[in-house]
Subunit: 129 residues, 2 copies
């Protein structure tokens, strides 16, 4: 389990996701001030590779530098505002979700027990034992 690599990959995914959120904010701002440009950015973003935030910015810089710089500014602002809360949110979110999943699974198991008991065990897992 290479935790360092996982941390790096997760940071990259987060960074790309914040770039996507920044693009959405800029589109919504442009809808008020310059609808044709909003439309252009929306179309561009639908075809560009937003899974890779840096590649997206790089391509947009060549097409419309002003928009790319605006999205860069917005994503930095979002990152400053929200990232500090994420560790707590993600950790408690996962812990709570795990508890909920286990609870629902146990409830189903308990409700289903008599049914499961009367079913002969025919399934065998490959390679088990």
């Amino acid at each position: 389990m290479d935790l360092k690599q996982i941390a790096k990959d997760t940071a990259k995914v987060m960074s790309s996701y914040l770039t996507y959120q920044a693009m959405r904010i800029v589109v919504s701002q442009l809808n008020e001030t310059n609808p044709p440009l909003a439309y252009w950015l929306q179309n561009f973003s639908a075809t560009a590779n937003l899974q890779n935030g840096e590649a997206y910015i790089e391509t947009l810089l060549q097409e419309k530098p002003d928009l790319a710089i605006r999205i860069m500014t917005v994503r930095e602002h979002i990152a400053e505002e929200v990232t500090e809360f994420l560790p707590e949110m993600v950790l408690t979110g996962i812990m709570q979700a795990n508890i909920d999943h286990r609870k629902r699974y146990l409830e189903r198991a308990v409700t289903g027990l008599p049914l499961l008991d009367s079913t002969p065990e025919t399934e065998t897992e490959p390679g088990s034992g």
Copy 2:
């Protein structure tokens, strides 16, 4: 700009991504101990909706509860180990990437300028005089 909603959405994306990473770890562990089950989990994960980590766990709980519980345990462990480092990694990552993009953009702009300015009009018409 609804920063609270963006934080919530980002946390959800991160949680799903850590679920995906946990699945990969479990697949790689099973490759050592139970290759057919590793193969099964890999196939299951290729068709299941891993964009939504909770829906993925829910479906897996119904198919192979042991594997779902194992992935839940692993993702909680990863979250405990890596999330605290992410704010700093993401923020400095975005700031550095923004600087790099701006630098490359300016370099291209500057490199383009002298060439355009200094290119003398040397073309002479053939056969003149």
